[in-house]
Amino acid sequence: MELHVLIVDDSPAMRNFIRRVLDLSGLEVGLCLEASNGEEALRVLEDHWVDAVLTDINMPEMDGEELLRQMSAHPVLRSIPVLVVSTDRTEARIQKMLTLGARGYVTKPFAPETLRDELVQSLGGGDGSN
């Protein structure tokens, strides 16, 4: 089954990097949508269903924390697994995001296999590869 994902990051270079990691991950990736902040992500999610959201925290307009908060409060979007991908590696931040509903947390910089493994874990642990 194809995996549809939404990548939320204000850095075009990082969105590009994550997209490449997913392409090479062995996962069967279908739609790979992008947004540059939380507000844009919510607009994308109004029109598209995705299987997972990968989001940064520090972004202009709406940050990843508020995106997670709004998704968790939404009757439909709350079921979408969210994986946080951030430079912030402090335990307090990680715990806060997990408490808000994130299924996983990857700190930048990361090895491609780390992102893949965390994403698979966030999706429920199944392999999902071809």
């Binding site: 270079a13 590009n16 430079t87 912030d88 335990e91 930048k108 910089p109």
Partner: protein
């Protein structure tokens, strides 16, 4: 700068230098496959004259990205490198077929590298407290890399050129 004060705890400059070195090494090796050698460190404009790139290639096009951070010790971070090195790093980061990224791609990658290096350094210095980084921005025609006389500066040899990072805490945190 020899030390700074964080919630009454004095942090030695060597701790900041070590955090910067570890962050640069981790980010460049993981994301751009570049190995680095720490070549020097200092504080203040006088020390910057020792940076080989700045001293030998005054006309080299430099790319500098700056961001501000907030937390228990707010301040400014800068990453600066020659355009040639930025293009090589950009091509590796973006996995391009070409050996060098375009100027625009190099700029995007340098901003993201600044974000990651600053975050990785603060993660080592903040000891568990939450911090927030601003959106990195490119600064054209920067005259002085160090944002403050009390800032910490380190430069590194990547084999493809020299890269410099500077971290300056707000004045009230400098001792």
């Amino acid at each position: 700068m020899n030390s700074c004060k964080v919630w009454g705890v004095v942090m030695e400059a060597t701790e900041i230098h070590a955090a910067l070195a570890a962050a640069v090494e981790e980010v460049l090796e993981t994301m751009c496959f570049l190995s680095v050698n720490a070549s020097g460190e200092g504080a203040g404009p006088a020390d910057l004259e020792a940076i080989p790139e700045a001293a030998d290639e005054e006309d080299a096009r430099m790319l500098t990205s700056e961001l501000r951070f907030e937390g228990r010790m707010p301040g400014t971070f800068r990453l600066s490198l020659p355009m040639d090195l930025a293009q090589v790093a950009g091509a590796a980061f973006l996995a391009l077929d070409e050996p060098a990224a375009t100027d625009a791609q190099a700029g995007e990658v340098v901003c993201e590298l600044a974000n990651m290096i600053c975050g990785a350094a603060l993660g080592r210095l903040e000891h568990g407290t939450i911090f927030r980084l601003s959106h990195p921005e490119l600064i054209p025609d920067l005259q002085d890399l160090n944002p403050s006389p009390s800032g910490s500066v380190r430069w590194f040899d990547t084999g493809e050129g020299f890269l410099t990072v500077a971290l300056a805490l707000q004045p009230e945190y400098a001792v």
